[in-house]
Amino acid sequence: MSDIVISARGVQKSYGSNHVLQGLDCDVGRGITGLLGPNGAGKSTFMGLILGLRPRQGGTLNVLEVDPDQSGPELRARLGYAPEHHDLPGDVQAADLVRHVAQLHGLPRRAATERASDALWQVGLGEERFRPIGTMSTGQRQRVKMAQALAHDPDLLLLDEPTDGLDPVQRDDMLALIRRVGREFDIDILLSSHLLEEVERVCDSVVILANGVVGHSGALDELGSSAAGMRVELDGDPQPLVAALAARGAEAAIDGHILTVTGIDAVGDLVRDLVADLGLGLRRLEPRRTTLEDVFIEASL
């Protein structure tokens, strides 16, 4: 299998005069990828295009080396999808629903029955698999959605807001499960979310959508290495240091007790010398690391 799972070039999608995707370019590699973006950024629309649920109006899109518009049914047989909504037929047993979806994805009845049971065990619903879905909690329904997406052994799993509606404990469990599916089951995952923290916890890379285009994409571990300036924490008033830094061409932003200093090279040496000259108490001096939040805010502007 290619290292590129999803490749989009100039993808466009509009609803009337609302241009949701305006030339989206990105490559999604193997592993767990977070699809981040504020509400209305086009995440669900992009998911719909990946599934071939709606046609795009421009650009090229390849998912598992297949164009969803050209070979939708063949592609969808290789995809697993857990939608955002919590509505599932309440009078159907979890095992029946998962088996049914597995059969729709091409599995013979016997294999579908076995794998439905296995998938429900894997997501922690083994004992609950014969319960009607209507009697289950939100967390359990999220797990049923995960099980139905997994049962037919997809090559790529699309998860749309999988922790929506979960309490903190359930959320931790779900994120652990997603990580396990990505690592141990060796299934590539595209995780749509608007929660930075959960993307940071489970994903290998991220695609940030903003205003219909990709604001940023790349591996998460590359974010921290892109140092930009220093973070300084002082005892006492930081204003003398800010003024001294400004006089030497550096920019200093104050956030509570923390100064973020950027704008010149060797900023660490300069801060150290100025703090000593001004007789200030230095609590902390460390390289500033770019966080996902920084990237997200920058991409969303």
């Binding site: 669900s44 998911m47 719909g48 599934l51 649920l53 709606r54 939708g72 049914p73 063949e74 969808r76 047989a77 995809l79 999808y81 939608p83 955002e84 909504h85 509505d87 599932l88 037929p89 309440g90 009078d91 159907v92 047993q93 029946d96 049914h100 979806v101 059969q103 729709l104 994805h105 091409g106 599995l107 013979p108 294999a111 794998r115 296995d118 894997q122 139905q148 037919h152 052994d153 749309d160 599916v181 141990e184 089951f185």
Partner: protein, 290 residues
């Protein structure tokens, strides 16, 4: 004996055979038939489909019993198989209005449509599978009892005369049963595609059918504008088509009886196509995010 147990087999990949879209459609149809019949659901959900099937089959069983056990019982039966469709109108009406909407309304309401369209099914193959499911159950009601009667009367030596007569009767039953089942299925899916609420679809079908009957017959009979307006009577139209298939024309009967046979057939086919096209048009426009 060892007490060892395997608690976690780990995740296993699947390398076995995979079927294509056609099998997915068959699976969806089978699943839909189960749902509309209330199988694997509460007893309450089984009531209406059971009543519909009983209304459809019990008269045939009674006629067969009369023919089998009463002296000259075969003479007490129906004049024509076409008359049987009049007897089971209630069953078809009940099923079309109150059971069939379950086939598609619930999928949109429960979000299952998103899961279906995220599978190898497309909007078109989904609708075809749903159509086949509803038509199969309605077909069981429109084909099953007449075929039972044909077989029973044949065994009782009171069936159609000769092989030719028997084959013509069989052909008429198949054509009539299929036409009625397909018509009511198309009508039900078209109206059900307008709403996610099953109860609303039921009311729409119920009122729509009654209104079409009143308007059609009213225009043709009351206002005396022309007999062709009786073609608006969606309850009477398929049964009039059945009468024509069995070669029965009553020139002095209801307004629909006065309409030419070709107009009856063309209207029936045209409405089936129109209802099918409308359901497809609706489903092409439904936004599905999953």
């Amino acid at each position: 004996m060892s007490q060892a147990q395997i608690h976690d087999r780990g995740y296993l990949g699947y390398d076995g055979p995979r079927h294509g879209t056609r099998r997915a459609m068959m699976n969806l149809s089978y699943h839909t038939v189960q749902r509309v019949l209330g199988l694997k659901r509460s007893n309450w959900q089984k009531v209406l489909p059971t009543i519909s099937l009983l209304i459809a089959f019990i008269p045939a069983i009674v006629f067969i019993g009369i023919a089998a056990f009463l002296p000259r019982g075969d003479e007490l039966g129906l004049d024509s198989t076409a008359d049987y469709y009049g007897i089971i109108t209630g069953a078809l009406f009940l099923f079309t209005a109150f059971v069939a909407p379950e086939a598609i309304c619930t999928d949109r309401r429960s979000g299952m449509l998103g899961l279906y369209l995220a599978s190898p099914l497309s909007r078109d193959t989904y609708l075809v599978a749903k159509f086949a499911a509803v038509a199969a159950v309605l077909g069981a009601m429109t084909l099953g009892p007449p075929l039972l009667l044909l077989i029973a009367y044949t065994l009782a030596a009171s069936g159609p005369d000769g092989v030719d007569g028997w084959l013509i009767e069989l052909g008429r039953i198949l054509a009539s049963g299929t036409a009625v089942a397909v018509f009511w299925t198309a009508l039900s899916l078209a109206l059900s595609s307008l709403t996610t609420r099953r109860s609303l679809a039921s009311v729409g079908i119920f009122v729509g059918l009654l209104a079409s009957s009143a308007v059609g017959d009213g225009l043709a009979e009351g206002a005396e504008i022309g007999d062709s307006f009786a073609l608006f009577n969606l309850i009477g139209l398929p049964f009039e088509a059945v009468s024509r298939i069995f070669g029965e024309v009553e020139p002095e009967g209801a307004p629909l009886n006065q309409v030419d046979t070709w107009a009856i057939y063309m209207t029936l086919v045209g409405l089936i196509v129109a209802f099918g096209w409308f359901a497809r048009w609706r489903y092409q426009r439904i936004e599905v995010d999953g």
